[in-house]
């Protein structure tokens, strides 16, 4: 085995891992604040990728303008996701919200199959040079992907830590009743949480097309991978999700290279199951 191969897989893993990071950050944020598992999160990412394909390929916008438009539109759609599939069920058992978001994902997935067909769609990338860095082939689009992911996660961190909105959000996540008592409009917090999470999901979607193609079927596997990351990190732990997302991306790539390509995805599920059974609260979770 050569170092070049390992280096290449580390880079590939970093690309996947970055996607996992912002995908899982959104999933984890929703869980942390609202105690809700959003089963439609994967389809929101898929929709982001497919809409980007439509606005760039059919409408003719450039990549950056199209991506910005898609992320904003999808973020606003997060408001609807909250009002239609989450808010009406909040007093009920937590399983009911799983079911309503499953229904939403069913609609989005099959609707997208009707609109776009099941085939993969390529999107024109803004720049796509290949640079060789010490034996490892690196695409400039990939560098952009990693950069945007980290900027987004940093932005989320700063927002949660320093802004008033972030503080309200964390307070709501820690104690819903307490937050209401001190006058926080928790409905608005829930709306914003899903708006931010949907925006992050769509951002993952518009970034995925930089390294692969858009397809209506990309949501489901990503959702399960996202779960694996969120579970291993501890549900609701956004910072943990970042570390685990990167770790999972890199080890998955190495597993695919050196153990078995076929069972790559299986590797993530096995890690998730083992962690969940040994430490149900996740690696970084508190009991």
């Amino acid at each position: 085995m050569s170092w070049d191969v390992i280096g290449q897989q580390l880079w590939n893993g970093l690309l996947n891992g970055s996607i996992y990071v912002i995908f899982a950050a959104g999933l984890s944020l929703v869980f942390g604040v609202m105690r809700v598992i959003n089963m439609a999160h994967g389809e929101l990412t898929m929709l982001g990728a497919m809409l980007l394909f439509t606005v760039t390929d059919l409408v003719g916008l450039g990549y950056f303008a199209g991506a910005a438009l898609v992320v904003v539109v999808m973020a606003l759609a997060g408001f609807l996701v909250n009002r239609v599939t989450v808010r009406p069920f909040l007093g009920h058992s937590e399983l009911v919200v799983i079911l309503s978001t499953v229904a939403l994902s069913f609609v989005l997935l099959n609707g997208s199959l009707v609109v776009w067909g099941s085939g993969p769609k390529g999107v024109d990338k803004p720049f796509n040079e290949i640079v060789q860095v010490g034996g490892v082939y690196v695409t400039t689009a990939g560098v952009l992907l990693v950069g945007v992911c980290f900027a987004a996660v940093l932005g989320l961190y700063l927002m949660l830590t320093f802004t008033k909105l972030g503080k309200k959000t964390r307070a709501t996540g820690q104690n819903l009743l307490g937050a209401r008592l001190i006058g926080i409009n928790t409905t608005a917090v829930y709306d914003t949480t899903l708006i931010v999470a949907s925006g992050l999901a769509a951002l993952a979607g518009v970034l995925i097309v930089l390294v692969s193609s858009a397809s209506p079927n990309l949501g489901q596997p990503l959702l399960i991978t996202g779960f694996a990351v969120v579970i291993v990190a501890g549900m609701g732990n956004v910072a943990g999700a970042v570390a685990v997302g990167l770790f999972m991306g890199v080890t998955e790539a190495l597993f695919g290279q050196f153990v078995s390509t076929y069972y790559r995805q299986g590797y993530l599920y096995v890690v998730m199951i083992i962690v969940l059974l040994l430490r149900p609260q996740g690696l970084f979770g508190r009991k």
Binding site: G91, V107, F227, M272, L276
Partner: protein, 339 residues
């Protein structure tokens, strides 16, 4: 001892009469009769999932994996070893039940509710991956074909109508079994854990043991349904273990109503027939299904069957329904008290 027939059975009996007679007059071609078989198979799968959702108050996202597993076990035995499908019908639930016991033991000792849903999702997707990739054993993406039908005294049950009545008989047996199980010591134990696990433990119910056994039972039942599928439609493939069927069973249970015996049966009939009527809409029907599922969860969280029961009760002037849109699982208790 006076034999009391619970009101649910009257409504169920009426539906049953229709179900037995209608095929003879309305479902006249092979294709339509095949749909009837599908209804029964989905009904059994729905009943087993409802045992987890309605009785245990838990949720398994890996239920379709056990369904597909049962189908593969029985198909494999018949194809590779030439073992009669009748043995397969026993071996499939046994195998699914054993694996369910193992996974239930691993998962239920530690996790409940959301965590359990995700652990089972992990196991389910893992099983699907294995079915897809382990080509020498599972036949890879195309699966296994030419699964033989069961035969009775040298007569192969190939005809849709014969298989339908055969499966219907089994379904009735399963409904009866479940109704007995619900009121048994074991069934009440499971219920008590659902209501309040700590309280149940304090009065000496071995919560984890009961839950593991109940989970394993549900897995065995769905494995049996899978074997019925394999020997009628005569093929198995990895999709049987996948999330599509998981969603179908979920629709069956939710539309019908959780925690009621006839609910999933009715849900299965509604699902198959409505999807058939929507066939003209082709791929749009899945979109419509999603919308219907969302509307059902929104406006009729208790499901069709309990809603009908409520109406029937109202007609009889017994206005004892307090709840509507109660948290999932709890309406099940109400339905039971009424029964």
């Amino acid at each position: 001892m006076r034999l009391r027939i619970p009101p649910g059975w009257w409504l169920g009996g009426l539906v049953l009469l229709v179900v037995v007679l209608v095929p003879l007059f309305l479902f006249t071609n092979t294709y339509n009769r095949g749909l009837l078989v599908l209804i029964v198979i989905y009904a059994i799968a729905g009943l087993s999932l409802d045992y987890i959702m309605g009785e245990m108050g838990q949720f398994s996202f890996g239920h379709a994996a056990f369904w597909g597993f049962g189908a593969y076990v029985s198909a494999k035995l018949a194809l590779d070893l030439g073992i009669s499908p009748w043995i397969g019908f026993l071996a499939a639930p046994a195998a699914a039940g054993l694996v369910g016991l193992l996974i239930g033991y691993i998962a239920l000792r530690r996790t409940r509710n959301l965590e359990l849903a995700i652990v089972t999702l992990g196991f389910g997707v893992l099983a699907w991956t294995v079915a897809l990739r382990w080509r020498p054993v599972t036949g890879g993406p195309s699966g296994l074909r030419q699964v033989p039908p069961p035969s009775l005294f040298g007569w192969e049950i190939r005809s849709e109508l014969a298989y339908f009545y055969f499966a219907l008989l089994l379904l009735l047996g399963i409904v009866f079994l479940l109704s007995r199980l619900r009121t048994s010591r074991f069934g009440r134990g499971v219920r008590s854990i659902h209501e309040n696990e700590d309280l149940a433990k304090s009065i000496g119910v071995a919560a984890t043991k009961y839950y593991v056994l109940a989970f394993s039972f549900a897995c065995a039942l769905v494995g049996f349904s899978g074997a019925l599928y394999a020997h009628h439609f005569r093929f198995v493939n990895p999709n049987l273990l996948g999330l599509d069927y998981m969603f179908i069973f979920l629709i069956v249970v939710l539309v019908g109503g959780t925690g009621t015996l006839w609910g999933p049966v009715m849900g299965a009939a509604i699902f198959v027939l409505v999807s058939e009527w929507l066939r003209a809409l082709q791929e749009y029907r899945f979109v419509i299904f999603g919308v219907v599922l969302l509307l059902v969860v929104l406006f009729m969280p208790i499901g069709v069957f309990p809603a009908l029961q409520k109406i029937a009760r109202r007609i009889r002037g017994r206005n004892d329904d307090k709840e509507s849109g109660a948290p999932m699982g709890e309406h099940a208790l109400e339905a039971d008290k009424a029964g």
